[in-house]
């Protein structure tokens, strides 16, 4: 068990984003967290990443509270671009290398090549598609224990999506865990082990993807439509 949360709550002045979620993530699995916009997926991920502090409830990484030690092993990728404006693609790599021990510059260069990016490109001049690819390259060049990918296929053209999925699969090892959220559930159906459905900040359903398919004769997408219709 790599992540455990009990009755996790995040309240804002105007709304409750996460409303008492309890779940466990196991090592070596690929999880998809699904739900419409505003259902709490991003807030949940940010709490695991340590960017958002819970209002109440507990969340631990390998039994430790979220903090400096967990951040060494957790790689989070947000939906929006977040690199400093003055940075080039090369600068981003150097930054990650400076702060994350598990970052591999070699792997970064490989992924940059794969995504048709250039080390000299300036982050702020990249189109939204290339910016998205840069985020993924930087995040997946880390040999992290837990990857949190928020909408990794967003803004990526169809051809490149295959490359991204392959890259994600390459990081799926016995000792790594991947939690990703996406609206493009179709494309991710084949690679997920377990699926988590969040509705209005609460856990609606969590289960093994193949078992759900076998038991219900429905795809993950079909089950999604059922839950949120």
């Amino acid at each position: 068990m790599i992540v455990q949360c009990k009755d996790l709550v995040k309240k804002y002045i105007s709304k409750t984003a996460v409303n008492g979620v309890s779940l466990e993530l196991d090592e070596g699995k690929i999880y998809a967290i699904l739900g419409p916009n505003g259902s709490g997926k991003t807030t949940f991920m940010k709490m695991v990443a340590g960017l958002v502090k819970p209002s109440s409830g507990t969340i631990t990484y390998k039994g430790m509270p979220i903090g400096v030690e967990s951040k060494k092993k957790v790689a989070y990728m947000s939906t929006e671009p977040f690199f400093y404006n003055y940075m080039t693609v090369a600068d981003v790599g150097t930054y990650y290398e400076d702060f994350f021990e598990d970052f591999s510059m070699e792997r970064y260069k490989e992924l940059i090549g794969r995504m048709d990016l250039n080390m000299k490109d300036k982050a702020k001049d990249l189109s939204s598609g290339l910016a998205a690819k840069l985020k993924i390259a930087a995040t997946l060049a880390r040999k992290a224990e837990l990857y949190l990918l928020d909408e990794p296929l967003n803004g990526i053209d169809i051809i490149a999506r295959d490359k991204i999925i392959t890259t994600i699969l390459e990081e799926a090892r016995e000792n790594s865990t991947i939690l990703l959220s996406s609206h493009l559930v179709d494309e991710l159906e084949k690679i997920i082990d377990h699926v988590i459905y969040i509705k209005n900040g609460s856990l609606e359903l969590i289960g093994n993807a193949e078992e759900l398919r076998a038991a219900r004769g429905k795809s993950i997408v079909e089950i999604y439509k059922e839950i949120y219709a």
Binding site: Y12, I13, K46, A49, G50, L51, V52, K53, G67, V68, E69, K71, K72, Y76, S78, E80, P81, F82, F83, Y84, N85, Y86, Y95, D98, F99, F100
Partner: protein, 251 residues
């Protein structure tokens, strides 16, 4: 923490380049005046230099504060807060980077002034006498000694006040962010808090040190003590800021 500081410097590097460039231009003007004995230009360029020095100091403080605010507000915050660093290190690096920048800047400006004064004294021999006369007047009128401890105490005071202003600003911004998360008037509230704290700590300083505008014989000691008080306040605001960031603030 050194790595964090490296990136703080890089974020604020562009403006330092501009400042250096402008100093260069002012110096060109000054030396033009010296070489061609245009006293008006000499005076004007020195005047500009003085104003520019003040302006740069203010600007640098402002820039450190705005950088901090942006780091909390924009998505760039992820860059900082995803790294395995405690908030104490993150804020500490910012304060250290700001302090180093101001010290280096002060030295640069001081050097430029000293250079200009040396050139002027060399050119206008009468100025050397003027300098000794000034020192004598100050000594007679105010029983002041211009000596090394005195100058150092003044420097210490100015430096600590400058750094404390920055940490108070950090504190105000963070306090506002703790309660107002993403509301639009967060910036306005942090400004109010900033003003209130400044008034408060100046009030305490007045209580302890009496009227600080009056200079007297012991000014070196008094200024040194004041610097310590301000330093303590700086540490207090720094620790509170880091604590709030660590425990309370979500980006």
């Amino acid at each position: 923490m050194l790595k964090l500081m490296k990136y703080e410097f890089r974020k604020q590097a562009a403006s330092k380049g501009v400042i250096l460039l402008l100093i260069g231009l002012i110096e060109l003007l000054f030396f033009f005046g010296v070489i061609f004995s245009k006293e008006k230009i000499l005076a004007i360029s020195m005047g500009i230099l003085v104003v520019f020095t003040y302006g740069s100091m203010f600007f640098m403080a402002f820039e450190s504060i705005i950088t901090y605010s942006n780091d909390l507000k924009n998505k760039c915050s992820y860059m900082l807060f995803l790294t395995p660093n405690t908030s104490y290190r993150i804020v500490g690096a910012k304060v250290a980077a700001a302090a180093i920048q101001i010290i280096v800047a002060s030295l640069v400006f001081f050097g430029v002034f000293a250079l200009n004064m040396a050139v002027l004294v060399a050119k206008f021999v009468a100025l050397a006498d003027f300098k000794t006369m000034c020192a004598k007047i100050l000594q007679e009128l105010f029983q002041l000694e211009i000596n090394v401890p005195g100058v150092l105490s003044i420097l210490a005071l100015v430096t600590t006040v400058w750094i404390c202003t920055i940490t108070i600003a950090f504190f105000s911004i963070t306090l506002s962010a703790t309660f107002l998360a993403n509301k639009k008037f967060k910036g306005f509230v942090s400004l109010i808090i900033f003003i209130i704290i400044n008034v408060f700590y100046n009030y305490i300083a007045d209580l302890i040190f009496g009227n600080r505008v009056e200079m007297n014989k012991y000014y070196a000691i008094i200024y040194s003590l004041q610097s310590l008080y301000i330093l303590a306040f700086t540490v207090l605001t720094y620790l509170s800021t880091a604590w709030m960031l660590e425990k309370k603030v979500s980006v």
